[in-house]
Amino acid sequence: MSSYEARFKVWRGDSAGGGLEDFAIEVNEGEVVLDIIHRLQATQAPDLAVRWNCKAGKCGSCSAEINGRPRLMCMTRMSVFGPEEVVTVTPLRAFPVVRDLVTDVGFNYAKAREVPAFVPPEGLGAGEYRMQQVDVDRSQEFRKCIECFLCQDTCHVVRDHEENKGAFAGPRFLMRVAELDMHPLDAAADSGIDRKRAAQDEHGLGYCNITKCCTEVCPEGIKITDNALIPLKERAVDRKYDPLVWLGSRIRRRGK
């Protein structure tokens, strides 16, 4: 099959209102949804707003919802849909819409600023950091994040409950807390920052009910729930809910 005419429904509008508009548009072999959106711009809807950049699944710009599923448009092949299937493309539904397929993802930047940055160990200058690969493996998995915010979009804690946005950082930024807490050189604890306790008390880790949607939609295949959120929950338990760990740490401190 070299080319066919596909039926698309694309959400058009802005914060004042809008709706799904029907399009019939040519699709060629090997194309992805973003190619079709670009063809719509070029041929039928020149004012269609869409955010995109690399077309290679690495910049995280072209996040949208395709047939109701949060995905990157540039990484969604048209071949996964049948020629008769209507393809519906909407903006991310967890964030305020700006126009057409563009949303205001500022919530995520606000949450990013709430996570205390990496704390360098005292006495080490630039170029002097040394660490074992096995120690930094876990954090490096999370560094694959391209900040497409699909996990933030699909997480029901904020997607279905706007009122939780103040208290809940979302999977991406809880993963950031985990990344730093597992980092072999992060000296936050020495400077009085308790990332484990903060994950629960300040970033809303307790809101996560580990239903794994963040992991399902991650285009980088990061095991967000199993490798970041659950380990972080266990670390928070160490701090807040485990009397034996608390007792052990008290005894160790007294012995020093």
């Binding site: 509008g13 809008g18 799904l20 919802e65 047939n67 109701g68 599923r69 949060p70 299937e85 519906t88 909407t90 903006p91 539904r93 967890a94 964030f95 305020p96 819409v97 949303t103 205001d104 993802v105 500022g106 930047y109 606000a110 074992q132 096995v134 120690d135 979009d153 699909t154 029901h156 804690v157 997607r159 279905d160 409950h161 706007e162 009122e163 946005k165 597992m182 072999p184 809303g204 307790g206 809101y207 996560c208 009910n209 580990i210 239903t211 794994k212 949607c213 939609v217 199993d226 659950i230 380990p231 929950k233 266990e234 670390r235 928070a236 338990v237 160490d238 807040k240 809910y241 485990d242």
Partner: protein, 278 residues
């Protein structure tokens, strides 16, 4: 802010606004998924419900749980006076004769708590029974959501204590499996079809227990520097490989423990005799 990315003032933050919140794209539908998203939560709920019904019946039945040399995993260890006497078996009457209900209820609380607070089962029943959410990007029906921040769900944080309790239970079920290498007259060196059923069951029980996320944390996940603890790192890697199959092991062990119990029930109720292999 220089980048102009400060969040916009919110116009509609009433609880339950969700995807229909005033600032979001005006789409009336709760979701636009076209796949069979309901299949997984429906199948999960049906599977869990079937087990709950079966195990409730068997736990309260207080009958047909011992047929030498097999004891049902639902009734092991048997901690009350009213247990069937099991030769060399797991009879420890620490609750004495005041306990009048089924002895299964005394011990099942531990595996029940372990599975109820398990990170996989939480996902399964939050999705399957509570629709929170029913599936990814499918709006949940609840107006408010506080997750695991408040009582009672904050108690999910005691999962590791149920893990600690699950280990001795698994040890006792291993002992029961060893006892299954006897025949009905308690002579050693024999094996029946039931022995095979018990072997498969105990292998799955151990695999599920050790693949637990809390176990993964305790054996090594809590460490900051793996390089300083090479043995724990190895164990953490091994548990991690099992942990990646935690869902499959959860289901497989749930089915196997029910099948092992049902096998004993069939023998004890006289439905058929255990085929002896040697």
């Amino acid at each position: 802010m220089a980048t102009g990315t400060d969040p916009r003032p919110k116009s509609g933050t009433a609880p339950g606004g969700g995807v229909r919140d005033g600032t979001r794209a005006a789409i009336a539908a709760a979701h636009l998924r076209t796949d069979r998203w309901w299949l997984a939560p429906a199948a999960t709920a049906a599977g869990l419900l079937a087990f709950v019904v079966y195990s409730t019946w068997r736990a309260f039945a207080n009958a047909d749980y011992y047929q030498a040399p097999y004891v049902s995993p639902f009734y092991s260890p048997c901690l009350a006076d009213n247990c069937a006497p099991m030769r060399s078996g797991p009879n420890w009457e620490i609750f004495g004769n005041w306990w009048g209900l089924s002895p299964a209820l005394l011990i099942l609380i531990f595996p029940l708590g372990f599975r109820l607070t398990c990170y996989y089962y939480r996902k399964a029943y939050y999705r399957g029974f509570w629709a929170s959410p029913p599936a990814c990007a499918v709006a949940e029906p609840h107006k408010k959501y506080s997750g695991e921040t408040r009582f009672p769900l904050i108690l999910q944080n005691i999962h590791r204590y149920f893990f600690y309790a699950a280990v001795p239970v698994a040890v006792i079920l291993t002992y029961d499996t060893v006892l299954a290498f006897r025949d009905e007259h308690h002579a050693w060196g024999h094996m029946g079809l039931g022995t095979l059923v018990f072997l498969v069951n105990i292998a799955l029980i151990w695999a599920y227990t050790l693949s637990c996320h809390s176990c993964r944390h305790i054996v090594g996940g809590k460490l900051k520097h793996f390089s300083k603890h090479p043995v724990r790192y190895r164990v953490w890697q091994w548990v991690g490989r099992l942990n990646a199959r935690h869902m499959q092991l959860a289901w497989a062990s749930l089915v196997s423990v029910a099948l092992a119990d049902f096998y004993v029930y069939l023998l004890a109720s006289g439905a058929f005799d255990d085929p002896r292999l040697f």
